[in-house]
Amino acid sequence: MSLLEVEDLTISYKTTKGKFLAVKHLSFDIKKGEIISVIGESGSGKTTMAKALVRAIKPPANIDSGKVLLNGNNLLEISQNKFVHDFLWVKVSYVPQSSQNSLNPTQKIIEHFIDTGTSHGLRDKKEIEDRAVKLLQLVRLPKSILQSYPHQLSGGMKQRVLIALSLLFEPELIIMDEPVTALDIATQRHILNIIKELNEKNRTSIIFITHEINLAIYLATKLLVMYGGELMEFGDREKIEKNPLHPYTISLLSSVPKLFGDLSKIKPVTEGKINSKGCPFFYRCPNAMSICENNEPETYTIEGDKVRCFLYGANKA
């Protein structure tokens, strides 16, 4: 049974040039204890998708259709009050991109914990503080920083405060948007280890959004590869790493140099724009066929993995 199921999610933006679809007919699920790395370039819709999971979509963006089912409850249908009170932080937490700026500069760190705690039914400030101290220990920060203001902390420390804060109610699912981007390698490693530990100890499910392929692979049990707002491929990390199916995944994996392996096989993916009519990858795809230009492929299931490409359709050559 899935913890979270996203069904046919479509999100649009109103722009001066008309409606633009940021996420198109996206479906995937995450089970307890899984870590899904969402890989995508800028404009792939990964951040918009993440925001939709915690109802953070605001105009000019709009959720046109779809369901987000957490333990069977459609998060998009329940009242805002119920969502904020019973779900956000409690069942699902969100660590936004550039979250280092999302702490309130006029509040000490302890006040962030107290605000979040009291607004979700914890009355005893002492209890909140006790929890905060334990959580800071988990992310290896001294409890003295509870009395600090955000500007007194480094970027990596702020990031870890936010991860600690997101754990206040031990949610079953945490969504992290680029949590280690722009941090130095020691801090990056440190935070990745914390995420792994969390996942192993508490079986917390994690949606980890990144544009760094190596990091995505390092952490994930499953990969969700997005392009132009659509799912390109979704499945077991090891399997995709060894045997990617979608031409985008194949090109992407062979465009990233590694510390080991044959460099002569590394080649960039052709640059190009997103196709808004058929398959979004059409203009850059080495296997593009005429059908791909104006027709949207279905999602095909190949050995348990999902892939959205005509190469795998019934009418494949």
Binding site: D184, R189, L252, S255, V256
Partner: protein, 312 residues
Amino acid sequence: MELIRLEKSTVVFENEGRKVYGLKDVNLRINEGESILVLGESGAGKTTFGRVIVGLQKLTKGKYFYRGKDYRKNMKLLRKEVQYVYQDPISALNQSKTIRDSILPSIKKWRKVRGEKLEEELDNLLKSVEIEPELKNRYPYQLSGGQAQRINIARALSTNPRVLVADEPVTMLDASIRVGIVDLLTSLKNDRGLNLIMITHDLALARYVNYRLGGMRSIVIYGGRIVEEGNFSEILSDPLHPYTKFLVESSEDLEGVGSQEILKKMVYQETNDLPLKGCPFAPRCPFVRDACLNSFPEVAENPHRVFCYIYS
């Protein structure tokens, strides 16, 4: 022929009353046609290093000679011959100008081209970075990151430079197109005999640059200091300085291999306060000894150059 020589080059920044070394006692010689890799992380001093080379950053102490002449008396030549490619390709361009208007003045000034030839020169320059000349009428916000970085490279080339300092030129680009930009930079180096100074934190990417250009000399920077120097493949296969070991092991571990000799021992510490005395890596180093806290070690050759008391 020597092109660039740094002698005890030092840059000191003041941050809230605290002194920070952007660069400290850096000695380095780069010969004409030679390309190097500068490895290090944000805050290590690599950008300060790059800015010193192009003459954008004054030295607090020490010397910088370009073609044997003190940089301060050589600014005109530096402006022409040493060009910078920035990390953020969009914000590096003038937002209120079309690509054409951004690059033409520089072609006019440095290439001494006039009249009808000017447009032709611009078109050829854009073609050389694989950009269709029609894009010249666009504004920066109308470009993809990859296109913008190619245009930055074209702008840098417009002065007919000898040296390109590329400071994390692909870090902000989508992963799928990064090696395309590296391919462009390395072919430009080969075709024009440029000195490419490639600054990066990404060892896997550095490995690819080294593969394209072959046998590159590399320096590893930490806390404004050069801590290790040698052939890139030697540094990768046999890192000597504990910091370099840490860098290599971190990248290895991402790929699920490696010994983790240092990774297991290294205590995680915030890097906000680097010591002004001694080795900047001392507070995080698992092999720290008293000497490290007091003075920076002399160079040892073992077999390549390293600055660490373990070897001296």
